[in-house]
Amino acid sequence: MSSVPVRARRRTRFSEFALETLIRVLGFSTIGFVGLIFLFLLREGVPVFFEVPPGSLFSGRWYPTFGIFGTLPLIFGSLLVTLLAIAMALPLGVATAVFVREVAPRWAREILKPIIEVLAGIPSVVLGFFGMTLVAPLVREVLGAPTGLTAFSGAFILAYMALPTIISVAEDALDSVPRSYRDAGLAMGATRWQTIWRVVVPAARSGILTAVMLGMGRAIGETMAVMMVTGNAAVMPSSLASLFRPVRTMTATIAAEMGEVARGSTHYHALFGIGIILFVLTFLINLAAATAIFQKKRKGGLR
């Protein structure tokens, strides 16, 4: 405000001041809303940590209708599905980004990029139907699991949903690697593949890490598709075979049970408690992503 020249006309000064204030209020209100949401979450969710002893809150049985609130199967369920989804989406996403940015001819890139963006716009219910009617039977018949509604099927659908995010962000990261890096690699006698794999991808690694984190944030918060495909049985994942057994995620639990729960009951607080856990997990993931971006900036050069 103080930078406005003294001789500027009053009206200009006033409208500028008004505009600046408006933008400032809007900007801070966004932060304020997030803060309020978190406060609300805390207010509704914290009582569960007093109503249910920590020992049983972090035990392995979730029967909310009967006062048994063991959240561990839900936490592990969410983590299992999310990590598996990222394990599937990461190689595929980075490979696609490398192809689109480094290998594909210009005309192919022009076609591929919009298509990838359309992929991000498919509603999750539609993907859920797809998972229920196509992926689940395949998983059951091909892998011989008792049912196709498994952590694996859920992760498969989630991987598909996280892919557009991972591809777009990773592609941007590759895009910001200076041309001189590629030229230098090729000038040293490296093949195109060697240049991509040894020079360009490592130079963009923090951007790729951000891509993974953002994809993970999308995957862990996804509800509808997961609810339709993972079977929703609150079983503790115990061995590798658990990948091909049903799981129940935190998001699906909240979505499925919140509509029915009596306001102010322990179950109600427990669902908000799960919301807090979920919020903290997503926050940590986003924080990690932000740190990666920050480090990239500090190292300089790569945007």
Partner: protein, 294 residues
């Protein structure tokens, strides 16, 4: 849940301006009586059919129907936001106490009967099960189909979500065999499906699956399992006849609750439901009340 969303969309068409409205004020002499009817997903199709027919016969009345589950409907009744709550279970003592605290004394109407059908894949060779066997299957004591006379294979348990009135009823009457002292629970391996449609899809696709749902939701791609009270039989398939003569063991009444004794338009509507409205019940797949001739 999907079913509920659909119902919400459908009813949005007929709800028009009929938002809000205090409990009890629906029966005023205003030319347009409007009230809300919310609750059980089991009942939602029937409630919609009733509301549509009634509104076409009585254009001055507007009824908006939504699903969401018995608990949602009852909670809305307690909060005073709806005039009629659909429920596939009775209100619990706690819920009645809470309603009384808000100055509302809920009144129960039995509006139809429903059989809970036990369904399996058409390729499953098991024809009938006793209640005891069903209980053992759902608590996880029986884990292979060969233990109840089928082809060998793991049993995949399907259930509605724990918020559903159908879940509570099945737990009390089948898993706990009607024994109020029993502490038996569904096996943790049970897949909780968010909708009837989810159970239908999995049962059609998976030869190992067993599920349960309201008779109205069973399609021809699912095979109904006959249920017997004891091993001596008889094994009975659910139908309107076997529910009414009480030979099918897993059936229950469906309710509508009102906030206080209904008056005016709400009373007329409920009177119509238990009389002429019963003719629609069978079309939607439920069982009309005995003696209504429907």
């Amino acid at each position: 849940m999907i079913c509920a969303c659909l119902a919400a969309v459908l009813s949005a068409g007929c709800s028009g301006r009929s938002t809000g409205g205090n409990a009890g004020s629906a029966g005023t002499t205003a030319p347009e009586a409007a009230f809300q009817d919310t609750g059980s997903d089991t009942l939602v199709n029937l409630a919609l059919a009733w509301a549509e027919r009634y509104m076409s016969e009585n254009p001055e009345v507007r009824i908006s129907v939504t699903g969401g589950g018995s608990g949602t409907g009852i909670a809305s009744l307690i909060n005073g936001t709806v005039q009629i709550a659909n429920a596939s279970r009775e209100m619990s003592a706690e819920e009645i106490a809470e309603a009384k605290k808000n100055g509302i004394s809920p009144v129960k109407f039995t509006v139809a009967l429903d059989a809970i059908a036990v369904v399996a894949n058409p390729n499953n060779s098991v024809e009938g099960l006793t209640l005891q066997q069903l209980s053992d299957i759902y608590t996880g004591k029986i884990t292979r189909w060969s233990q109840v006379g089928g082809q060998d294979g793991p049993v995949v348990l399907l259930s509605r979500e724990s918020n559903s009135g159908t879940y509570v009823y099945f737990l009390e009457q089948v898993v706990r065999l009607g024994n109020a002292k029993s502490k038996a629970l569904f096996s943790p391996e049970t897949l909780l499906m968010p909708s009837s449609q989810g159970i239908g899809t999995e049962v059609q696709q998976n030869p190992h699956a067993i599920g349960y749902d309201g008779l109205g939701y069973v399609t021809s791609e699912q095979k109904m399992i006959a249920v017997a009270r004891t091993a001596a039989g008889p094994y009975v398939l659910p139908s309107a006849r076997t529910v009414l003569n009480k030979s099918y063991p897993v059936s229950r009444p469906l309710y509508m609750y009102t906030a206080g004794e209904p008056t005016g338009a709400v009373k007329k509507y409920l009177d119509w439901i238990v009389s002429d409205g019963q003719k629609l019940v069978r079309d939607v797949g439920f069982v009309p009340l005995a003696g209504s001739g429907g």
